[in-house]
């Protein structure tokens, strides 16, 4: 094989040449090759080590990322069998993967534009943080050091087949590439030992069981596998500041109804893993021995990335991505109600109650947007670059626009006052951090994402024209673009085609001038109890406790046998510090469903306030029995045992909590104290250090204020309860100031 590599690698075209070379050799040659391809082989490591930059210590060669190589040292890039080799038997997988984000994870210009800034400003060794997930072969082969002479021919394959299929263990759910890479092998010997590198295809066909043993692991089917890269933090060695959580898609899933691991969700539903949504099985069109009963798990990983397939011209991938985003179930828009600007009460749910509209009247439209069926937040990652926003318009009977928000300007930039599901990271000077230069982030000025299963309320104030006669039509859409135009401008300059805008959800309602009578439910409209429930959740998220209790009370009236409505009232009242009425609501919930874990959890919190630790313990134990992976139950049980003086059991709970979320602050804090008391000084110091670095820096928050002070539109968006005032300023009545489209913006649209 060494001989054939020398011949084939120069102008390497592995499909036509290497495969032919490989097929001509027997298993004996590959057995010999196995020895030389062992990732721990000293020869390759010895070659890399002398000039390798160990900035983060010899014990952490791949820091600031968390990837690990079984056996240590470095691994030859060629030790990973080429994707085209796998394609021989897995054509469907190969063709899907080639167009998917995973295969383009390093080379795509949107990534390179950002990581190149890191390399140029801080040094290539820092890029190991990003490339642990974007280009693990580069990291593990020791290529990310100055003047590296590693052949980077693997760059355009990103996460190739044998990167994922060689991972032998997961380090934790902390992300940052927290996996353990084993010997890349497509087959094991009879004893289960991994045989490195490529082998003749016939060898695999003769021992498919050994092939499966080499390339599959049970945990590949779990969401924790995805956590290795779909959760990330910015560690101190990267930003020279402190730990900052970057994104936590895995945690969001773990806290969602889809995981069946959290009792605290607003809704329940079927269990779904990441793979259930992003690797759906479908009939395979091409030969693939991995298919089962003609169905193959998608290796397209359809999600939200439209820019990369658009850039590369992968039309099929783009079309499927758009279809995925538009499947209609992920978000739900409810034009819930109207509130005359000079009144306090909201008329709603629209369609279910009569109301009257007068010409010249100023109205607030209440739009509830629910993250209905996404197993993580909307938007889950890279919120500073992805762009999702609400397009709101009111038109008269002739289609003339009365007012609008969330439109695209002629140059493709977004109306700066649009309601968008984004965040604004800021640096040490309180300036917006552009280009995803995450190593400069010190604070986040605001974050308007919607968590899984939850809702947000967007309010628009508009004025009905005084001369209007026919009906008016209110339309609401949630649009999505990958990426915001200003970033695409930064990547390519301004001379690039317009990137796709995808409408994910929409709703519209026609309103008559004068009397409006109740009407049949619109297509896709939720039942009234759910509309009130979603409004209540949105109010709760926007710290409108009184309004939230009112909305949940409507739910209780419409669904008196459902304990969740009462629990929702209790949750709100606990946050509102109205504990007595919260207890009444929770008891009502438990009378309807005595073992309801969510209600028991909140009753335990009330029992803690009432100094009833034994009752609290009993309730929390029942919650943990039903939901052993509930981080909340483990945390509160730890606190409970701590207060009861049972330190051993407290430690047990906090350690269980850390196994679920290694970055839980309460676990760090309490374990540092408990370990210290137990004489475990080193462990105590480690937990203390983690607590100090992971605790949110209150001083950094002032940087957000500096940014918001200079950016009034962002400042308004940062307020949970805000109004988008679309009434021209001269006509404004009782309105908070937000003249649409007039605010100067830092280049972030």
């Amino acid at each position: 094989m060494i001989m054939s590599k020398t011949i084939c690698c120069l102008f390497a075209n592995p499909v036509s040449i290497a495969a032919a070379c490989c097929l001509s050799l027997g298993i004996a040659a590959f057995a010999q090759d196995a020895a030389t391809q062992n990732p721990s082989n000293a020869q390759y490591t010895n070659k890399i080590e002398p000039t390798y930059n160990y900035r983060f210590g010899k014990k952490h060669p791949f820091a600031p990322g968390d990837a690990e190589l079984a056996g240590g040292g470095f691994i030859r890039p060629g030790a990973f069998p080429d994707a085209r080799y796998c394609a021989h038997c897995h054509k469907e997988a190969y063709h899907q993967w080639r167009h998917a984000l995973h295969s383009n994870s390093f080379r795509d210009p949107f990534y390179r534009a950002s990581v190149n800034i890191l390399i140029r400003t801080k040094g290539i060794e820092y890029s190991r943080h990003c490339d642990s997930c974007h280009n693990p072969v580069a990291v593990l082969s020791g290529a990310l050091t100055e003047d590296s002479q590693v052949n980077r021919g693997f760059d355009d394959d990103g996460l190739n087949c044998m990167v994922c299929h060689s991972i032998q263990a997961l380090k934790s759910t902390s992300g940052n590439g927290g996996f353990v890479m084993g010997v890349p092998a497509v087959i094991t010997d009879a004893k289960g030992n991994r045989i490195p590198g490529e082998v003749p295809y016939q060898e695999i066909m003769d021992h498919t069981d050994r092939h499966v043993r080499a390339v599959m692991q049970d945990f590949y089917h779990s969401s924790t596998f995805c956590a290795a890269c779909h959760k990330a933090d910015l560690p101190q060695p990267l930003n020279d500041f402190k730990f900052i959580s970057a994104f936590s898609t895995y945690d969001e899933w773990q806290n969602s109804r889809f995981s069946h691991q959290s009792p605290l969700t607003f809704y329940s539903g079927p269990k779904k893993t990441c793979q259930d949504c992003h690797m759906k099985r479908a009939p395979n069109k091409l030969l693939d021995y991995g298919a089962k009963n003609g169905m193959f798990a998608s290796h397209r990983w359809l999600a939200g990335n439209t820019a990369v397939p658009f850039y590369y011209g992968f039309k099929n991938q783009l079309d499927k991505t758009i279809a995925f985003l538009q499947s209609g179930k992920y978000l739900h828009i409810d034009l819930f109600g109207l509130k005359p600007a000079n009144q306090d009460s909201v008329i709603g749910p629209l369609g279910a109650v009569p109301f009257r509209i007068e010409p010249g009247e100023t109205l607030d439209a209440y739009v509830v947007i629910q993250n209905k069926d996404i197993g993580h937040s909307f938007i889950p990652e890279i919120r500073d670059l992805y762009q999702a926003w609400v397009e709101f318009s009111v038109k008269d009977a002739r289609g003339k626009v009365i007012c609008q928000s969330g439109f695209l300007n002629p140059d493709g930039s977004l109306d700066p006052s649009a309601h968008s599901f984004t965040n604004r990271p800021v640096d040490k000077d309180g300036e917006f951090v552009d280009n995803h230069e995450v190593w400069r982030i010190h604070s986040v000025a605001y974050d308007n994402t919607i968590q899984s299963g939850q809702s947000t309320l967007v309010r628009y104030r508009f004025r009905v024209p005084s001369d209007v006669t026919g009906p008016i039509r209110i339309s609401v859409k949630v649009n999505y673009r990958h990426f915001r135009k200003s970033y695409v401008d930064n990547v390519f300059g301004k001379d690039h085609p317009a990137y796709p805008v995808v409408q994910i959800a929409s709703a519209a309602r026609e309103l008559k001038i004068g009397e409006n009578q109740p009407a049949p439910r619109l297509p896709n409209e939720e039942p009234d109890w759910m509309r009130w429930n979603n409004l209540g959740i949105a109010y709760l998220n926007e710290v409108q406790y009184g309004a939230a209790v009112d909305a949940f009370s409507k739910v209780v009236r419409l669904r008196p046998s459902d304990p969740d409505g009462y629990t929702n009232i209790a949750v709100t009242e606990i946050e509102w510090e109205k504990y007595a009425s919260a207890e009444a609501s929770i008891q009502k919930a438990l009378s309807l469903s005595p073992k309801n874990a969510r209600a028991l959890y909140y009753r335990a919190l009330l029992e803690r306030r009432a100094s009833q630790p034994e009752k609290e313990l009993a309730d929390l134990l029942e919650v943990a029995r039903q939901y052993p992976q509930s981080r909340d139950a483990r945390r509160e049980l730890g606190v409970n045992y701590y207060r009861l003086g049972d330190e051993a059991k407290a430690v047990q709970q906090f350690e269980a909590l850390q196994a679920i979320d290694p970055d839980d602050l309460a676990a760090h804090y309490n374990l540092s104290i408990l370990y210290h008391r137990m004489g475990l000084t080193k462990q105590a110091e480690a937990q203390q250090a983690l607590f100090v670095t992971e605790k949110i820096n209150s001083t950094a928050r002032s940087l957000s204020f500096a940014y918001l002070q200079n950016n009034p539109t962002a400042s308004l968006e940062s307020i949970p309860w805000h109004l988008h005032n679309l009434v021209p300023s001269s006509n404004t009545t009782n309105a908070s100031s937000n003249p649409a489209g007039r605010m100067p913006q830092k280049a972030a649209q």
């Binding site: 590599k5 120069l10 075209n13 080379r107 003047d147 590296s148 002479q149 590693v150 390519f492």
Partner: protein
């Protein structure tokens, strides 16, 4: 020889002022150019102003392979026609490399050469790959073309 002269003129036009010689090409390393780390390869890097030219040459068996990479200010209007004049075949657009890129078979200095001309924002890059080995088979011609494309992608990636 006429082709060589034209290309050298284009390079000279691109870089006014004294050139500085370096050993490491900022856009790609030798191993990636050669497709292997165990190939003996000579490298010359000339920098001038905001531009640079990296020249690689190496032998494989009896064949001599040469790769030249020019990166320059895309605002320089005079050099582009000279590069395009090197194309012996119509330019074929390359998807997914830079803002835009084209590939063509270059006028033969050696029996076979390919050239990619592309741009990333305000930077132009030209990748010229030649081999003294005769393209006896379509596979060899394709691999030279594939090599030029892969080198161009590496260069473009580092220019973002």
């Amino acid at each position: 020889m006429k082709c060589v002269a034209v290309l050298l003129t284009a390079t000279a036009l691109a870089f006014s002022g004294p050139a500085q010689s370096e050993s490491a090409c900022p856009w790609i390393n030798s191993a990636t150019v050669a497709g292997a780390s165990d190939v003996s390869i000579s490298v010359d890097v000339q920098r001038s102003g905001s531009g640079s030219t990296c020249s690689f040459s190496y032998h494989q068996g009896t064949a001599l392979h040469q790769v030249r990479i020019v990166v320059e200010d895309a605002g320089n209007p005079s050099s582009l026609p000279l590069y395009r004049a090197q194309c012996a075949t119509p330019e074929t657009p390359l998807n997914g490399i830079g803002n835009e890129a084209v590939i063509c078979r270059a006028k033969p200095r050696f029996p076979y050469a390919e050239q990619v001309i592309g741009r990333v924002r305000d930077r132009r890059f030209v990748v010229f790959v030649s081999s003294s080995s005769r393209p006896d088979t379509r596979v060899i011609a394709d691999t030279i073309r594939n090599t030029a494309t892969k080198i161009a992608e590496q260069v473009a990636g580092n220019l973002y």
